[in-house]
């Protein structure tokens, strides 16, 4: 059977390195093979194979009752996913672009997130899709949506930065009994720099645990998603100035692994937060106040942030490049904070 696997789910079985997109596809495929309660819903995910071809070949293998093409109605099919989850299934909802989760804001925050609290039982479902900018998608195909939901008790939010985390965390998300939002940065999907050979074994990565992407003593940089790679670039540049940066990849945004951040801050005394998402109301704020609560005495400088500008994502390349934070921005901020 593995001979006629769709190409994007066969890398690991063939012993080849997988892209981020392929890692996502492999996680979906393997979970669907493992557990027949798992099924997919989304726009054009069946015959067309999905806007980014994550689910190419899934319809042939799993049939139309497990790969469901939906009408344009993100609220409706997310609500329907909740109903199916109540009945014991494990829906994975694809947003064609994560931006399109906004019509599902009501049902996600009011019905789905509150279910367990209201005594209506757990709602195991995953809402996943491509997020983030840098692809000239303009304001409606480039958003990061985490902060729309970060304030909602009852949800989990995952935003991985590597193929192996993407695969392991998506498996965890599907097996998790809570509703999980899962963002996949488009800039990582096919990026050659983050191909990885993945373990053949069924490996899960726990939700809620950050990862030390780089160890260092002088300065903590906390980030997630594509920006982790910008931070690692910046760390390299700073290393040439003998500034030893610790880079923490959050992996899960909600619940936030504040212990991991605090441990690093207690070591370095300096904290810089980097997110691609816009500035005001970004996750940097919550991290800042948690570190005030938990590590204030260890801070040897202000908690600072490098983020996108407070504006919709611009459409033209020139504007978008200016809008997005760069590795150079991170390095400048890191240098400043080091010297503080």
């Amino acid at each position: 059977m593995s001979t006629d696997l769709p190409p994007q789910v066969g890398r690991t079985r063939a012993g080849e390195p997988a892209t981020f997109l392929e890692a996502v596809a492999e996680a979906l495929w393997e979970e669907m093979e493992r557990d027949d309660r798992v099924f997919l819903m989304g726009e054009d995910i069946g015959a067309y194979g999905g806007a980014f071809k994550v689910t190419r070949g899934f319809l042939d293998r799993f049939g139309p009752s497990r790969v469901i093409d939906t009408p344009i109605s993100e609220g409706g099919f997310t609500g329907a996913a909740a109903g199916a989850a109540h009945m014991g299934l494990r829906p994975v909802v694809e947003m064609q672009f994560m931006d399109f989760i906004s019509p599902a804001y009501d049902v996600l925050t009011n019905y789905i997130a509150t279910s367990l609290y209201r005594g209506s039982g757990p709602l195991p479902l995953v809402v996943r899709g491509p997020a983030g900018g840098g692809n000239r998608g303009g304001p409606f195909h480039s958003q990061n949506v985490e902060m729309a939901f970060f304030h909602t008790p009852g949800l989990k939010i995952v935003y991985p930065s590597t193929p192996s985390d993407a695969k392991g965390l998506l498996k965890s998300a599907i097996r998790d009994d809570d509703p999980v939002l899962f963002e996949e940065h488009k800039g990582l999907y096919r990026a050659p720099f983050c191909r990885e050979t993945l373990p053949a074994a069924d490996r899960v990565v726990p939700i809620g645990k950050a990862r030390v992407a780089l160890e260092g003593e002088d300065l903590t940089i906390v980030s997630y998603g594509l920006m982790v790679h910008r931070c690692l670039e910046a760390a390299e540049a700073l290393a040439r100035d003998r500034i030893r940066v610790e880079v923490i990849d959050l992996r899960t945004l909600l619940p936030l692994d504040e212990e991991a951040i605090a441990a690093s801050v207690r070591k370095t005394g300096k904290l810089l937060i980097v997110h691609e998402d816009t500035r005001t109301g970004g996750i940097a704020g919550e991290i800042a106040i948690r570190m005030n609560e938990r590590a204030f005495e260890w801070l040897d400088g202000p908690i600072l942030r490098v983020t996108a500008i407070d504006s919709p994502v611009p459409f033209s390349g020139e504007l978008e490049d200016y809008f997005l934070p760069t590795a150079a921005d991170v390095a400048t901020a890191g240098r400043y904070l080091f010297r503080y």
Binding site: P71, F77, M87
Partner: protein
């Protein structure tokens, strides 16, 4: 068919019992000596919801039909096996209420019985119920879903997306439009059904037996053929509402299906249950404040009380504060 012909005796007994229970509950709750704590509970119980819900396949193992009682709550929930005590607990927000006093309105779910509560969004539950019905269509031959919505709910995008998806996926869900008013729609239920390409179910009469029969038939057909259906319950005057139960009783007697003594026995049981529930509810305790902290995520530890600054610096201080009189907290 007319009268009660063809309805199984067990169903008729149940129907009578549940309608009596509903009526008694309603009457008792309307009395002036109803305790304040139950003031939120005194709503009318439309017996038609009971008749329709009783026509579904109810089990207690989570494998029967599913029902969102919506604007006819709690009637359909009672028909799905919820007890008056549970309803009163919910209304009185006691510790033992189905939602542990954490949420109100009709946000009351019991999936083993097939009762689904909501989040106070008219129309939204048609999505959720459609998704459940989708699961039925995929896995279970003989399950169907029932949702009570109202006319005003039809204007919401949530309802439309739910109905549209149910139609596209041929999910077996019967949506009953009911409520305290008809809205001011410029169109008929039939034209709405046709716009979604789904069946309209006509509820020609408002007597409980006919409604039961129509709903049974709709359910059988949905389970066999799939696909949603839409049915409208018209408004009833107070007089006609009040006549529903006496009429059922009369039919049972005149068709010789139950003896007067049997009806009396059922009425006594219903009455005893309601009385017991009412006296019991007043003795039930208030919820524990800590229940407000109940986990909203599966893995969340009970929230620590840090919010309230009882332990404002859980990590303590590395260096003593410089302020005079500063305290060291651990």
């Amino acid at each position: 068919m007319r009268g009660l012909a063809g309805i199984p005796r067990e169903a008729l007994e149940d129907l009578l019992f549940q309608c009596l229970q509903g009526k008694l509950l309603e009457e008792r709750l309307r009395r002036s000596d109803t305790p304040q704590v139950l003031s939120g509970a005194t709503r009318e119980i439309d017996l038609r919801g009971i008749a329709i819900a009783r026509a579904m396949r109810r089990t207690r193992d989570g494998k029967g039909d599913l029902c969102f009682p919506g604007p006819l709550a709690p009637g359909p929930a009672l028909a799905f096996g919820a007890t008056p005590l549970e309803y009163l607990r919910h209304a009185a927000r006691t510790r033992t209420s189905p939602a542990s006093a954490r949420s109100g309105g009709d946000s009351w779910t019991d999936l083993r019985r097939g009762i689904l509560g909501w989040s106070g969004r008219p129309g939204m539950m048609t999505q959720v119920v459609a998704g459940a019905a989708l699961a039925f269509a995929r896995r279970d031959a003989d399950r169907a879903a029932l949702a009570f919505e109202s006319f005003p709910a039809l204007d919401s995008g949530g309802w439309h997306e739910g109905m549209s998806l149910a139609a596209a996926q041929r999910a077996p869900v019967l949506v009953v439009l009911a409520g305290r008013d008809d809205g001011d729609r410029r169109s008929t239920t039939g034209s709405i059904a046709r716009a979604y390409g789904i069946r309209e179910i006509r509820a020609p009469a408002n007597d409980l037996a006919s409604l039961f029969r129509v709903a049974s038939r709709a359910r059988r057909r949905m389970a066999a053929e799939g696909g949603p259906a839409l049915m409208k319950l018209g408004l009833l005057s107070a007089g006609r509402r009040g006549a529903l139960l006496p009429q059922l009783r009369k039919q049972l007697l005149s068709e010789g299906l139950l003896l007067p003594s049997e009806i009396d026995a059922i009425a006594r049981t219903a009455s005893a249950g309601v009385s017991q529930a009412l006296s019991r509810i007043l003795r039930e305790g208030a919820p524990e404040p800590e229940d407000a902290l109940v986990a909203v995520r599966m893995d969340s530890a009970p929230l620590h009380p840090w919010t309230r600054m009882r332990s404002p610096s859980p990590e303590g201080s590395r260096v003593p504060s410089k302020e005079p009189g500063a305290v060291h907290v651990h």
